[in-house]
């Protein structure tokens, strides 16, 4: 597959957008500005970007607790996300959701989820609704390697397969479920082998290679869109930081520094950036400018979040039920 330069630049840009966000909010979290708990996706940026570049705004996305990257790649805006992280009224969910419960229905983000595996069966149903309405949308659903061991994974994938629902399931295999490594969690080499149990395509791809992710997802998305049914893609990647911001020793309790360093070497952004510069597709300086622009946008987002009010006291009682007119 030939990927044009524009798309490659967009890949870099989108990954930088995510990386800049994650690094900034980590700072803000440690400085005490962001409450609650957050799961950063630093190091995993190639997955959301490679997948979402295949999507239209009208396509749907469901995600996990580690969802900032997915929301951003689907078109989420810094300022509303930041305001949500601050628990402000102007956030995507009016401050009700926070990091684990982002949604922005207007751009097809139907929700990240605090329950591991919680989005998988829902995605099957969203896919069904597309087919039922004879629309040509696609649903993608992101979750971790840990989630692949939940009952919901099995039921959701089988259900989607039986319904031939247009859903692309993405395992972001970052090798751990909190502290539990793959070798204590499952016995297979590639989690994508499980797709065979539902007679759907299953592929494992280098999740730090954004172009490989893009191409693999393209095939699956196009297949789903044209009525071919669901697929499973496993992306091998790694999270640089602890399971959640503020985890003791930032993940070093159960992982070695060497392991972390070896994955930092395989940084998806560095890799693309170097390739694009070497290929004269972008200059060092243009990348710097991009990064600076994200920093500025982040400052504006922080400003927006800080100046925004908290939800009104009554908000506690609102949105429990919709008034039956």
């Amino acid at each position: 597959m030939q990927i044009d330069n524009e798309t490659k630049i967009r890949m870099l840009k989108e990954m930088l957008k995510i990386r800049s966000f994650e690094e900034k909010i980590q700072e803000l979290y440690h400085a005490g500005y962001i409450p609650g708990s957050m799961h950063l996706s630093t190091g995993q940026e190639a997955v959301p970007v490679g997948v979402c570049l295949n999507l239209l705004k009208s396509d749907y996305l469901l995600s996990s607790h580690r969802g900032h990257g997915h929301v951003l790649a689907k078109g989420g805006e810094y300022k509303y996300m930041m305001a949500e992280l601050y628990g402000k009224k102007t956030g995507y969910c009016g401050g009700k959701g926070g990091s684990m419960h982002f949604a922005n229905v207007k751009i097809g983000v139907l929700g990240t989820n605090g329950i591991v595996g919680g989005g998988i069966c829902i995605a099957a149903g969203v896919g069904f609704s597309i087919k039922y309405q004879k629309s040509e949308k696609v649903t993608v659903c992101f979750f971790g390697d840990g989630a692949a061991n939940t009952g919901a994974f099995h039921e959701g994938l089988n259900f989607a397969a039986v319904l031939k629902a247009p859903v692309v399931f993405i395992i972001e295999n970052n090798q751990y479920a909190i502290s539990v490594p793959r070798k204590l969690s499952d016995c297979v080499e590639d989690l994508s082998i499980r797709a065979a149990g539902y007679n759907m395509p299953g592929v494992t791809v280098d999740g730090n290679d954004v172009m490989a992710v893009y191409e693999t997802a393209k095939t699956a998305v196009e297949r789903a869109r044209s009525g071919g049914g669901p697929a499973l893609i496993e992306c091998r990647t790694y999270r640089w930081h602890g399971h959640h911001a503020g985890e003791p020793k930032d993940g070093l309790v159960y992982r070695s520094q060497e392991e972390i360093d070896s994955w930092k070497e395989k940084c998806p952004i560095k890799r693309l950036r170097e390739a694009l510069i070497a290929g004269n597709i972008i200059t060092e300086k243009e990348v710097d400018t991009l990064e600076k622009e994200f920093q500025q946008e982040l400052e504006r987002a922080i400003d927006f979040a800080e100046k925004s009010p908290y939800p009104d006291a009554e908000a506690l009682y609102e949105n429990v039920y919709i008034d039956e007119g």
């Binding site: 749907y60 956030g91 995507y92 969910c93 009016g94 401050g95 009700k96 959701g97 419960h101 949604a103 922005n104 229905v105 139907l110 929700g111 989820n113 605090g114 329950i115 919680g118 998988i120 069966c121 829902i122 995605a123 099957a124 149903g125 969203v126 896919g127 069904f128 609704s129 597309i130 039922y132 309405q133 009952g151 919901a152 039921e155 959701g156 089988n158 259900f159 989607a160 039986v162 319904l163 609102e318 949105n319 429990v320 039920y321 919709i322 039956e324």
Partner: protein
């Protein structure tokens, strides 16, 4: 007026709603050719086809979860879980997703879905097919809990449930499914939170749900002869709960029995007792008695099951305590 069964009343409502709104579809285990374990969806697959009346895999998490997804995608799912006993298998989808999506996303999304479940003990089905723990759903913010008793209630409340923008748990008690009652041919709705005084009385209020309403009515007849005038109030929806109708009755009679087939501890009978004790205790002339299933799993053996199911005998004993 025409008399039809509870089951037929539900079937009529489903048919009506599917005819009038393309977004409405049904899925669940064995609801197609077989028409559901209790016959509620009988014949629908013939009229609407297997694309709208869908037999699913044996996967309750997905049945409910994908129902939620379909609702998010703009449809109006009517989902059947054969027995309430199987909802623990998909409780995450009910409690953590269905009930919370509207709230936790700040009101952006809604889940206009009806989850139909059958409850109650009948016919020696033992511990895993006889439960009535819908009080779990009352304890869970975000869900509507509907407990129709008569065929009339069933049709009106299912219409309201399918039209609702909220997630609804629709509870069907086994012992009422084949009972007949008057049901208008035309369409109508019954609002949530609207209790029905099924019998007027002066001396004692029995708040009862589903099969126990019939039992309470029979016992009330008997007691009438003994000079005790009993009012029977059927909440019809447990959430929202029509406190005012209950309170008005208790204000009048000063005596209250709450009868529900669920186990007593932390059930809806406890809730209604507690509400009265909190808000209108000054009107009570006697202890508030709860009638429900004993604190045991449901046994198989016929005489034990018979003893297990709360009914007229338990109501009589409760009345004797406070009259």
């Amino acid at each position: 007026m025409r008399q039809i069964t509870f089951r037929e009343a539900l079937n009529e409502s489903l048919r009506y709603n599917m005819r009038n709104d393309d977004r409405v579809f049904c899925w669940g285990e064995d609801i197609g050719v077989l028409g559901g374990a209790f016959g509620v969806t009988a014949g629908l697959i013939n009229e609407f086809g297997p694309g709208r009346v869908i037999d699913t895999p044996l996967s309750e998490i997905a049945i409910v979860g994908a129902g939620i997804g379909a609702a998010l995608g703009g449809l109006r799912p009517v989902v059947e879980i054969m027995y309430i006993d199987f909802t623990p298998g998909c409780m995450d989808m009910i409690i953590n997703q269905m009930a919370k999506i509207h709230y936790m996303f700040g009101g952006q999304s809604k889940v206009p879905m009806v989850l139909r479940i059958v409850t109650g003990a009948m016919g020696e089905n033992a511990a895993q097919h006889s439960q009535s723990f819908y009080s779990f759903f009352v304890h869970t913010p975000g869900l509507i809990v509907v407990t129709p008793t008569t065929p009339y209630d069933a049709k009106g409340l299912l219409n309201t449930s399918i039209a609702s923008e909220n997630p609804v748990i629709f509870v069907e008690n086994k012992r009422t499914v084949n009972i007949k009652g008057e049901v208008p041919e035309e369409n109508y709705t019954i609002p949530f939170g609207n209790a029905d005084v099924k019998r007027q009385g002066e001396d004692l209020t029995i708040v009862a749900t589903q099969a126990l309403v019939y039992d309470a009515l029979k016992v009330a007849e008997e007691m009438e002869k003994e000079g005790v005038s009993i009012e029977v109030v059927d909440p019809r929806t447990l959430k929202p709960l029509d406190k005012e109708t209950i309170f008005n009755s208790v204000r009048k009679t000063g005596r209250l029995i709450v009868a529900d087939e669920g186990c007593i501890h932390c059930g809806i009978a406890s809730e209604i007792s507690a509400l009265v004790a909190q808000e209108i205790i000054e009107y009570l002339d006697a202890p508030v008695i709860r009638v429900g299933s004993p604190d045991t799993p449901c046994p198989f053996s016929p005489p034990l099951e018979k003893a297990y199911i709360p009914g007229k005998q338990e109501l009589r004993e409760a009345i004797a305590k406070i009259m």
